[in-house]
Symmetry: C2
Subunit: 584 residues, 2 copies
């Protein structure tokens, strides 16, 4: 062992002790007659001291030549510090060095290894191994480990069994794009990497393993949006002989446990909201309920005047932004420009200032009087000092736009507090969603989700209205988990594939094994999957999942550190019976 | 919830209680006036009873129609059994059914769902979800979970951090063949699936995460031998600021903990043996030391007579098989045929019967007298009643052959007891091994393994003699873990790549990121990786890893249940800029 102690554990209790430490040179201060070095490892920083009067001159010389990030091993005596540092656990002591051994040199790092670094994203990713030396990154990774251990121990104590499902499976064109893996031993054939272990966990239920979980990598070959990774980690769970209520309770328990164990936050029963209600009240199926600004629908109180924009709108809806009456005209104009950007795409915004004297001043005073505006204030819950922002247009679009505005205003007002946790179950998701592009229905969750049993008949006449026993767990405006009760009989599953546009042959080819399995005694079952990267980052009080992944990929799916993907040898291609082609 | 209790928990304490159970019909006995059904779930079996006198006739009728593996839910009252079954925990009670709800029908399963099934391997794999319902398979999977939880909690308590490394990495032609993954977003380029997270865990050491582990899937596109899987699971570990001794101690601790926690077996310090010694004493670098039959080298006591076979042999070596003097001439001939099979390839075998009266009878009595044979007995440790088996030829070949014979005889004699555990560290592995085919040296462990520092000079003159700080943990004749101290400076690593036949350009292209990292302050480090599938199967007292994998692949790398790999759509190929080619 290269050390007797870590750099984080020495204190007054160790004074006069001979110790051996190893670590990295964080920084050194050379006063000529005295040299101090901060020695860093994963556990902390310990100050080393070399002193003309007490240190041999060749050792002084050696110490002078140590550069940043050199790896050294020292022996020395723990002594009391004259000027103590109360900010670090080892701040009361230092080590008077008697022996110094350089274990490895270091080039000057391309960015500073400090909590706040001068390195940009790209350089930090290229030298991720140096980035990981920084406290915030290291602590995020340790935090992630802590969360996964808590998840595993909690579920394991509840008799869940972690079972590994295969990574080399079969490609199914439904849903997102698969990564595929050519098989050398089976010429012209391909495996696919799993987008989730969905069918396997259902087969485990058929196999009688009634409580399954797995923390598992999943893969999606999608065009990457910011903060998406081609490989991501799920906490994948499934239970048999359960109804929706059982799943919600079980995983509410898990989430409550994590909040308590990891964050010390005690939270009671999680509120629940239907999808329809969430859309109506927040314009969003994953509302952040840490703050208000609920939607007030204004059709009734706006569509009786001459204002054509509103009269022609499917939906007129507003929010009261607390205290934003103080916004200047210029600031409001900037806000309107913000919401008109193509990413959001609103055509404009009507606003009402709620003055302290109880009067209103709106951008549409030409059409609406104080009495009208008072009704708007009532519908949006606006108080004196607030600013009512009103959008109008097609229901879906305008809800999305206003939701974006609500989140933006919350951000600006500091209402999205990262030490506050507001979980929410959103339930009764629609079974299907209409896809304009392909002109057919897609499964909103996935094709294995069970429609509400009482609505199966409705599928024939109004498929878009059918709800599913599908649910999302939302935390602070992020979907951290989602799942459903599954279909567990062949007939319903075949019908569902039919509705989704599969021919019977396609259904059989792709999912025949599952439908076969349903014939041999499949129990009722359902489950949920949590996005671990997201969950960890929210619990960690941050928004970027990349900060919680040891070796993330960039937005082009590249690992810039190892420079992957890359070309492969021709012999490899030949063995796989593949040829490169050019883009069609 | 579909049940108030599981099928494994009811006992006398529940008598008169109303319960709801759900599960599978294991079997039913219909006496006309009385029907018993064994209801099965993951937790056990509970006997249900329907009885003319106490059960409504329509319910009797319904019960009569239940087939094997139907999924049912029942309500009923726990009553005392008249004829108790002491073999199962619920054997003292039965449930008098008052309500029966068929949750799902089942076709007759293609094999019996019993501990001993009538299903062959192929059919069981095709219907693996039914196979998993069988106790032995289910228990293996739960056992695996128990082992991984014990590993994780042990390492976590020792301050190891589980860190996920990427699955989409870069292909390196060194070593086994990679599975590759074409990148759609990077035309003509490929990711590779990791054969192990080797370079990433080393980068984590450079990053200061001084104790890392990960239970992780790894991939090798090799021609599959029996009991190899293209995807397999490792317990991958690495530590910084350690020497070999620290790693051996740490993971000996883990293994000892597992043996105690999982098997209740207490084992003291693990013996250690050098690679050379293991080869000499057992002809094998992973000797099973649960039994003796150590090799006795016989060159000295055989090569002074007229027996040309021995005189011309590089090595003459024998083992004393305990009690095998009782083998008939015919049995010995069969044994000789066994060892001459091409899989083993011995040219013949000389044997000596050690008679109870202290005399010897050998197959080469023409050349050797009693005095000679007594020396053979001494060298092999043979006692009266034993059979000495002697092989001769080239050192490496003959050792491998005799080792195979030793294992076979141990198997026949019942010496490979699966409830006995004999761990062993094999250390000082050679750094390189000569490959006849490519006429160059390959890294025996991998190219990141450090030569013994004092032998670096020897690399230039006698590379084959250089030993590494590389070690295997052997359990009952199986390598369950292997690792090494790594190179941690650029110069040595570059030199090693040079010895292994890399041009500087190739080394830079493939492993430049690692050598760069070594320049920025890499600490000394080393690690180990355990084969989880193997470890679990040995702890479970079995030899076949497939029995401990939920969804294994067959020897052609196929998943016969889901029928993967399979052809993919042309559009998928086009998006990936690939064309199918025919085998060259």
């Amino acid at each position: 062992m290269y050390r007797s102690h870590t750099c984080g554990e020495l204190s007054e209790n160790n004074i006069n002790q001979e110790v051996t430490l190893a670590g990295w040179v964080q920084k050194s201060r050379d006063k000529g007659f005295m040299i101090w070095i901060d020695l860093r490892d994963r556990y902390g920083i310990t100050q080393l001291i070399f002193d003309e009067e007490r240190t041999a001159s060749d050792l002084m010389e050696k110490a002078k030549n140590l550069g940043r990030e050199f790896v050294i091993q020292i022996k020395g005596t723990v002594i009391e510090r004259t000027s103590k540092n109360p900010n670090i656990p080892t701040g009361n002591i230092e080590v008077l060095v008697t022996e110094l051994n350089v274990l490895n040199n270091a080039l000057t790092p391309p960015f500073t290894i400090e909590d706040e670094t001068d390195g940009g994203d790209d350089i930090r990713m290229k030298y991720r191994y140096l980035d990981i030396r920084r406290n915030p990154v290291r602590e995020n990774l340790i935090f992630r480990h802590k969360v996964t251990m808590a998840v595993r121990n909690y579920l394991s104590e509840k008799e869940f069994v972690e079972i590994e499902t295969p990574y080399l499976i079969k490609s199914t064109p439904e849903g997102a794009r698969d990564f595929v893996v050519p098989s050398r031993m089976n010429e012209g054939q391909f495996y696919a990497l799993p987008q989730s272990p969905q069918t396997f966990k259902q087969l485990l239920m058929v196999g009688g393993m009634d409580k399954y979980f797995q923390i598992v990598k999943c893969f999606r070959d999608e065009d990457l949006r910011a903060d998406r990774q081609p490989e991501f980690t799920q906490i994948d769970c499934e239970m048999a002989f359960v109804e929706q209520e059982d799943i919600l309770n079980t995983f509410e328990g898990l989430t409550r446990h994590l909040l308590k164990e990891i964050k010390g936050v005690e939270i009671g029963e999680f509120p629940r909201m239907t999808y329809d209600e969430a859309m109506q009240r927040y314009g969003n199926d994953k509302p952040d309920i840490r703050f208000g600004m609920e939607f007030g629908e204004l059709n009734k109180v706006t569509q009786h005047k001459e204002f054509g924009v509103f009269n022609n709108a499917e939906l007129v809806v507003g929010i009261a932004v607390p205290g934003a009456n103080s916004y200047s005209r210029k600031e409001i104009d900037k806000l309107i420009n913000w919401i008109k950007r193509p990413q959001i795409g609103a055509l404009g915004m009507v606003y009402v200032r709620c003055n302290d004297d109880g009067t209103y001043k709106s951008s549409v005073d030409k059409f609406y009087n104080q009495e009208d505006l008072a009704k708007w204030a009532e519908a949006t819950g606006a108080k004196a000092g607030d600013l009512i922002c009103v959008l109008s247009g097609e229901i879906l679009k305008v809800r999305t736009q206003l939701s974006a505005l609500r989140m933006e205003m919350a951000e600006r007002l500091g209402l999205r507090k990262n030490n506050e946790f507001a979980p929410l179950w959103v339930v009764d998701f629609p079974l299907l969603e209409w896809d304009e592009e392909t002109k057919r229905y897609h499964a909103m969750h996935h094709p294995f989700t069970s429609p509400k049993p009482e609505q199966i008949e409705l599928l024939k006449t109004n498929p878009g209205e059918v709800k599913a026993n599908a649910y999302d767990l939302v935390l602070n405006g992020n979907e951290i988990g989602g799942g459903s009760i599954r279909i567990h009989d062949k007939k319903t599953q075949a019908m569902m594939f039919d509705y989704l546009g599969f021919t019977p042959e396609e259904a059989k080819e792709q999912f025949g094994f599952l439908m076969d399995a349903f014939q041999y005694g499949a129990p009722p079952h359902g489950g949920i999957a949590f996005g671990l990267d997201r969950l960890v980052s929210i619990l960690g009080g941050q928004e970027t999942i990349r900060d919680f992944i040891a070796f993330p990929k960039n937005n082009s799916g590249r690992d810039v550190m190892i420079d992957a993907p890359a070309a492969i040898d021709n012999t490899q291609l030949q063995e796989l019976c593949l040829k490169l082609d050019t883009k069609a």
